[in-house]
């Protein structure tokens, strides 16, 4: 009846996961009870869960990312503590548990923190910057988000029901084959990533179509903000690379479930083929994450330097060159496979080439700041912290692109330090910059700057203290994923690293404090005009938070920075341009399709992990039925009448007019 699922699946003998899961479960239950008792459930269902508004979906992606960041970071803290303690000692984590933790840490941080964070920012910002009212496929957008959330839920369920993979964040065969990993851990990994991968693909298709087909009139390619360009590049990469991930993991699933021989040691299977396939997805994935972050930096640096971005066209070209080169370097992840000197040389050179467009970008950001009136806001702190730190990570990357050097440091903590040195400042700092920068746009009030800056310094210093020692021990020969060791010269460095992790923890705690403090004092941090930073993009041309339809009148774009031009003119004349002619606006109707699909997908995943075949069949039938019901609906859109549009827009125009009259002459 329940397949392989029995009471023994719950790790009664391991107090740590049970306690932490119990604690989190308690918090969740408390929140749920509070929501129900206070009567917020209908509101949540109507305004968020069934929402197909790209802004709401973007916010939900970011919330998912922030929650999972806490989970992924607790894993990191446990790993650092273990390695600090496990010098000639067993530490506090048994090996099989430690292996699950480093696997879960990588999986969560990439798939359920970095991905939803950048996808969330893109979902929220791109339609606003393009001057349009919605994305191309609003309901599918909701399906994509909820599938991602279902994948995240599966990973978290593995904490208490069964186990997670012990194979690292990418399940390399033959270790991940049934013969060597007979438990459900790898299956949890595979089904969670398959489900959320489909969600990501949907989101990618949606955003590519949005950017290529639904821009405001006059918004030529050469007038799109840099963030939209990087979003386009990133989503093109999603569309091209995620199917490879799906295909590759499907092969591994066939190996494990139906005794196929894609990657086995026996019957002609080829484990190295997995390396080629998975990194054909895995390397572009790096750029899927970092390109939108580059876009955030471009927006923030231009706004807070009071100048348009330096070298717009070179920025666009650099973005698209990185997008292309992303597919030419995958083999550098396994130079040691032995593909031969010639092959390694080609991939090594291709890898080094990527430093060129990236360098172009860094110089463009610097030149944007040059002779600008730089305002050192919290968002700007993240940008400058990124530039300083990312360059170091980039250089250690170029170093490893040299195959003979790579042979020395392959799989060492030097590598671990390197990729954290590009992903943390590159992606996470960018996500935090974007979070700080667009928060007032999303919620109508800004975050506390002072707490934000202190949090930044904790992260910034904590990063160096945590990861620079890992470079050192890596060069001293310490390989990654060691549960214990007996080299005395490594020990002091690992003690320093745990201090860095604690500093980062203070940073996260301060960010939570910042959020709470800002919400409590939101009345006096209101963004009344909708342009709190004196910014340049079209997203600031509408109210904060923007109305459901984004723009009362779709802007007609005539220059590269249409909003900045309009604003300057309004300042000169000390009045806004004449009131536009309002029309009724059609907006897509809310739909529970996304939530229900993900609900069924979660049970399909769970059932397949535990071999509960009837439940899997039931879940698939439910997902199919959801789509049929969706197809049968007779009302797809609502109409917001002209008076309502006018009322909303006039309120914002009034606030902007008042602000204009208050400006210093």
């Amino acid at each position: 009846m329940l397949g392989k699922l029995t009471w023994d699946a719950i790790p009664w003998d391991q107090p740590l996961p049970l306690l932490s899961a119990g604690f989190v479960g308690l918090i969740l239950a408390a929140v749920l009870v509070w929501v129900v008792i206070k009567g917020h459930l209908p509101y949540l269902w109507r305004e968020w869960i069934t929402s197909v508004d790209h802004k709401r979906i973007g916010v939900m992606y970011c919330v998912l990312a922030l929650v999972m960041l806490v989970r992924g970071f607790s894993d990191a803290l446990m790993m650092r503590t273990q390695q600090a303690l496990a010098f000639q000692a067993p530490g506090f984590l048994p090996p099989e548990h430690y292996n699950q933790i480093f696997s879960a840490h990588g999986t969560i941080m990439i798939f359920f923190v970095a991905m939803p964070f950048v996808v969330g920012l893109m979902n929220f910002v791109v339609p606003l910057q393009l001057g349009v009212r919605d994305v191309a496929f609003p309901t599918f957008n909701s399906v994509g988000f909820w599938l991602t959330a279902a994948g995240a839920l599966l990973v978290n369920v593995s904490l208490v029901v069964g186990e997670f993979a012990r194979t690292g964040w990418l399940p390399f065969p033959p270790l991940s084959e049934l013969k060597y990993s007979p438990g459900v851990g790898v299956d949890y990994y595979l089904w969670a990533i398959q489900i959320s991968g489909v969600g990501t693909l949907i989101s990618g298709i949606n955003l590519v179509t949005t950017i290529l087909k639904t821009r405001a009139p006059g918004m030529r390619y050469t007038r799109m903000p840099i963030f939209c360009w990087t979003a386009l590049a990133s989503n093109l990469l999603i569309v091209v690379s995620f199917p490879i991930l799906t295909g590759t993991l499907a092969m591994l699933l066939l190996d494990r479930y139906l005794d196929f021989h894609f990657f086995t040691n026996e019957a002609g299977g080829n484990p190295m083929m997995f390396m080629n396939l998975i990194w054909l997805w895995g390397h572009p994935e790096v750029y899927i994450l970092v390109l939108p972050a580059f876009g955030v930096y471009s927006e923030v640096v231009a706004t807070f330097s009071g100048k348009p971005i330096f070298g717009y066209r070179s920025m666009v070209v650099a973005t698209m060159v990185i997008c292309f080169l992303a597919f030419t370097v995958w083999l550098h992840h396994f130079f040691t496979m032995g593909a031969g000197g010639d092959v390694n040389a080609i991939f090594g050179i291709a890898s080094m080439l990527i430093a060129i467009p990236t360098g172009v970008k860094v110089y463009n950001w610097l030149f944007t700041m040059y002779q600008g009136r730089v305002r050192f806001t919290c968002a700007m702190h993240w940008v400058i912290g990124f530039m300083v730190t990312f360059v170091i990570g980039g250089m250690t990357g170029v170093l490893q692109a040299v195959p003979p050097a790579d042979f020395q440091i392959h799989n060492s903590l030097f590598l671990v330090a390197h990729f954290h040195n590009v992903i943390i400042p590159g992606v996470l700092f960018g996500a935090f910059a974007g979070y700080t920068y667009w928060f007032p746009k999303a919620f109508g009030f800004s975050l506390d700057e002072r707490l934000g800056k202190v949090a930044f310094w904790c992260w910034f210093v904590g990063f160096y203290v945590a990861f620079m020692p890992l470079y050192v021990v890596g060069l001293e020969g310490m390989t990654r994923r060691l549960q214990h060791y007996d080299q005395p010269q490594w020990h002091p460095w690992l003690l320093v690293a745990v201090v860095g992790a604690l500093l980062i923890m203070s940073g996260i705690a301060l960010q939570i404090t910042q959020l709470v403090v800002s919400i409590r004092s939101r009345q006096r941090r209101r963004d009344v005009t909708g342009d709190v930073w004196d910014a340049r993009g079209l997203e600031w041309a509408t109210a904060s938070p923007p109305p459901l339809f984004n723009f009362a009148v779709v802007p007609n774009v005539k220059t590269e920075e249409p909003y900045w031009g309009t604003k300057q003119k309004a300042r000169e004349l000390v009045r806004l341009s004449g009131e536009p002619v309002y029309e009724p606006i059609e907006v897509p109707r809310n739909s529970p399709t996304g939530f229900l699909t993900a609900f069924f997908a979660f049970f399909v995943g769970f059932a397949l992990i535990w071999h509960i075949w009837w439940l899997a069949g039931l879940g698939l039938a439910g997902a199919y039925a959801t789509f049929v019901v969706f197809a049968w609906r007779d009302v797809a859109e609502n109409v917001i009448p002209r008076d309502e549009v006018a009322r909303i827009d006039r309120a914002n125009r009034l606030a902007r007019t008042l602000a204009l009259e208050e400006q210093p002459a």
């Binding site: 569309v239 779709v554 109409v639």
Partner: protein, 223 residues
């Protein structure tokens, strides 16, 4: 906010269907000069992007077949297993099915309900025939001990061809719901857009099949 909003009912006379009017395509440059493209263009375009991504997934299976096709582990080879006659009939079924799918598109454009249903039925029956033939081939292979567990070559064969078969199965399910939608909802704009996507999907499966036919069966049986 909630009171003044009114619902917009979908009716068979909604404006942008059928889409083949020149005016609409002139406006829908998609290059940003004229604003957002019409829904039919957006839907078709987005679905093309999905199809391209789907073809990339197939390419992963094609690549693994290319790598593993020689890894027979002492078991049977392609030349010993594949029956060109069966594959020829399968191919004929699938291509004819696509032909009728095209006929259905014309019938939809003409808004002829009976003709549409008939053409879609023919599309579905031929697709089903293809699927039955494929499953018979699979059953025969497994019966003679040449199942996917026998060797890496057979694993990659079953996965590649089976992936296409799974797509055809999903397509048949979709086809059934399409027929029901035309019946229940008439030639409504949103149903028309879905049909556009379905026909793109069905023809794309032909493209993938031509590649499978060539790389797996022709090369396997005669090379």
């Amino acid at each position: 906010m909630s009171t003044p909003i009114t619902a917009l009912r979908l009716t068979p006379s909604a404006i942008d269907f059928p889409a083949a009017t020149t005016r609409e395509y002139q406006e829908a440059t998609g290059h940003g000069e004229a604003g957002p493209a019409p829904k039919r263009v957006v839907a078709g375009y987005g679905f093309w992007i999905f199809l391209l991504s789907d073809i990339i997934m197939f390419s992963a299976f094609f690549a693994s077949y290319a790598v593993l096709s020689g890894a027979t582990a002492g078991g049977p080879t392609a030349a010993q297993l594949f029956d060109p006659r069966n594959v020829a009939i399968e191919t004929a079924c699938l291509l004819l099915s696509s032909f009728f799918c095209g006929m259905a598109s014309i019938a939809v454009e003409m808004r002829r309900q009976a003709l549409t249903q008939l053409a879609l039925l023919a599309t579905g029956v031929l697709g089903l025939a293809f699927l039955v033939l494929e499953l018979r081939e699979f059953a025969g292979l497994i019966a003679q001990g040449a199942g996917p567990s026998r060797s890496a070559f057979l694993s990659s064969f079953f996965a590649l061809v089976g992936c296409h078969g799974a797509h055809v199965t999903a397509g048949l399910l979709w086809l059934g719901t399409m027929m029901a939608q035309f019946r229940a909802k008439g030639f409504r704009a949103d149903v028309g857009r879905r049909y556009l996507c379905f026909s793109l999907f069905w023809h794309a499966l032909d493209i993938v099949w031509v590649a499978i036919f060539t790389q797996v069966y022709l090369v396997g049986a005669y090379a």
